[in-house]
């Protein structure tokens, strides 16, 4: 276990290093500096500002400084908001994003499990058809379309929840729902397939044969065994939510890192783009690592050899 963990963390750091290096040099490849549109500057002023951002040094020095800075939590200064440290920009914005992400995960996965299980138990009935249709819709309709519809019909027409901005719990409801749709549908589909398999297995037949009630069989034996593989889709679901958050936060004006990412892309704020890229990668890698560990712990049949799946 310790050996496996060490290996995984080594790969994690290696990947992180590669991500940092690639993003850094890609950003250097891009044309333009923060001063491209400032024609009025005299050469001296230009020199001064470039120096302030550390852009006069050779690229390899800039790279070393950047990497060293990251270890101290320093991601440089934003091009867009001068005097604003990128690390501050991100740390002040990560809260809402994490909150929304976690809420969406819970709101998506738990009802998704119940929904999928319902479909499997009532296989080949109208209930099953209904759940299948809902989950196909959930997978197919893009989250940003859903978000705009929710914002207009539930937020504006019905007036149940605020349509945008960030304040208390009420403000999180609509973005959470919009984000949760795709994890919900994915989980429901996944659980249905798993559960249909499990319900056909011998130990379910045995449980029924020894006289357990249908409810007991379903909850104690079938559902529990189909839950284990759900852990494996948590990673992809997290990716889904991260992708969705970029545009959902924009639509609902949530002050999160997704919204910041879009803003910095549109304004060519390279230091912020790099920092958000790194933060996203770290979050995904940590989620993947945790789910792999949990999977090994709850299912002893899986050996943690690093060559699973």
């Amino acid at each position: 276990m310790a050996k496996y963990l060490g290996k995984r963390i080594f790969y994690l750091l290696l990947t992180l290093f590669i991500v940092i290096t690639i993003t850094f040099f890609l950003m250097k490849l891009l044309p333009g500096t923060p001063l491209t549109n400032e024609q009025k500057l005299s050469p001296e002023q230009r020199e001064l500002i470039l120096k302030q951002y550390g852009l006069t040094k050779p690229v390899w020095q800039q790279y070393l400084i950047y990497v060293a800075g990251i270890f101290h939590g320093n991601f440089g200064t934003s091009f867009q908001f001068s005097d604003q440290a990128v690390s501050y920009l991100i740390s002040s914005r990560i809260g809402p994003s994490l909150l929304l992400g976690l809420q969406a995960m819970i709101v998506g996965v738990i009802p998704g499990i119940l929904f999928g299980a319902l479909g499997a138990i009532k296989k080949n009935t109208w209930v099953d058809t209904g759940t299948t249709i809902v989950s196909i819709l959930g997978i197919s309709i893009p989250s940003f379309v859903l978000a705009v519809l929710l914002q207009y019909y539930v937020g504006l027409k019905l007036g149940w929840f605020p349509i945008a901005d960030w304040g208390g719990f009420a403000y999180t409801v609509l973005p959470t729902l919009a984000l949760a749709a795709s994890p919900f549908a994915d989980t429901a589909r996944f659980i249905r397939t798993e559960m249909v398999d499990v319900l056909n297995s011998d130990y379910i037949e045995l449980a029924t044969a020894k006289g357990l009630s249908r409810m007991q069989v379903i909850f104690h034996h079938a559902l529990r065994n189909s839950l284990i593989p759900v852990v494996t889709i948590i990673g992809p679901l997290a990716v889904n939510i991260m992708t969705g958050s970029m545009v959902i936060e924009n639509i609902f004006s949530v002050p999160g890192i997704g919204e910041q990412f879009v803003k910095s892309i549109l304004t060519n704020d390279y230091p912020t783009i790099m920092a958000v890229t790194i933060v996203y990668s770290v979050m995904l890698m940590v989620v993947l690592l945790i789910t792999d560990i949990i999977y090994g712990v709850i299912d002893p049949r899986i050996r943690l050899t690093g060559k699973s799946n």
């Binding site: 790969y11 994690l12 290696l14 990947t15 590669i18 991500v19 690639i22 993003t23 890609l26 490849l29 891009l30 296989k123 196909i136 819709l137 997978i139 197919s140 309709i141 893009p142 940003f144 379309v145 705009v148 519809l149 207009y152 504006l156 249909v196 056909n200 990716v239 991260m242 992708t243 970029m246 545009v247 924009n250 639509i251 990412f261 879009v262 892309i265 549109l266 783009i273 890229t277 996203y280 990668s281 995904l284 890698m285 993947l288």
Partner: protein
Amino acid sequence: MADEVKLTAKSFEPLDRSKNLDSEKISAPNLTFMQDAWRRLKKNKSAVIAMVILILFFIMAILSFFPSVLPHQPNAINTQYANLPPKWPGVDINGVNGTLVQGGSRINAYAQAGAASNVHFWLGTDYLGRDLLSRILTGTRISLTVAVVATLVDLLFGVTYGMFSGWKGGRVDNFMQRLIEIIMSIPTLVIVVLLMLILKPGMWSIILTIAFSSWTTMARLTRAQTLELKEQEYILAARTLGESPIKIAFKHLLPNLSSIIIIQTMFTIPSAIFFEAFLSFVGIGIPNPTASLGTLLNDGQKNFQFLPYQMWYPAIVLSIIMIAFNVFADGLRDAFDPQTKE
């Protein structure tokens, strides 16, 4: 004994050889793998409906190549007719008769814009007076082109990578798999955004970007299957006979990988469509004035409160395409892989 039965040569009559050669034999016609899958697919009603819908969309997309088919020029700006609601000739139902509710009362937007009575925009116009129907048709074409070409590039690269890795095995395979693992732990979104920043915005960069970020799944599936296949006797036989690896790949591996590849392709296309729409919606995808489903949604969203049709129609088209692809892919998977069928 009473009378004897006399058997002469005449008692025996030769049977017609072409009929009933073997009355014991019970068999269905021999089906190839593809025919068999097709037979199963046909039984799946929803998959067939999805397939028909997709074919219709592809036909519409191809037709939109010819400007004369479109009711209007998709990129022609006509500010006089900006933001007109849908109007169908000869139909007087609210919603399609060119009227819209403004300030609590229903007004005739066409009359207000000074349009002649023979001016019709079937799905209305956008904020620059461009015909929405024409834009949706060309937008569908662009979105489908991006998705299909991106998937083909992804397929070409992913399958080659996967087959090579699986075939070589050993250290090469190990290295190639570690590389994939590293790429996979970078969020797709991040790869897409970074590549979009570096390449000039446009159709080809989106295609490259989507292809580059989605080939890993295809490569892994192909590799896993190749590892299994290369232990089979017929591959061994081919190797023993001195067949070159390239020929083995094309003649023996690819046909046996085809079902996996086809299924995965059908799942990649909708996600490519989604990414194109997503990027264009965020504003880093297809540049103006070219229409794609994503840019149309982006334009429509700005006016959604007052002119909901501008977003509804592209949203409906996008959703129908996505649903059809997903349902069809599900159907194909069941058709190709009868074992996993419940």
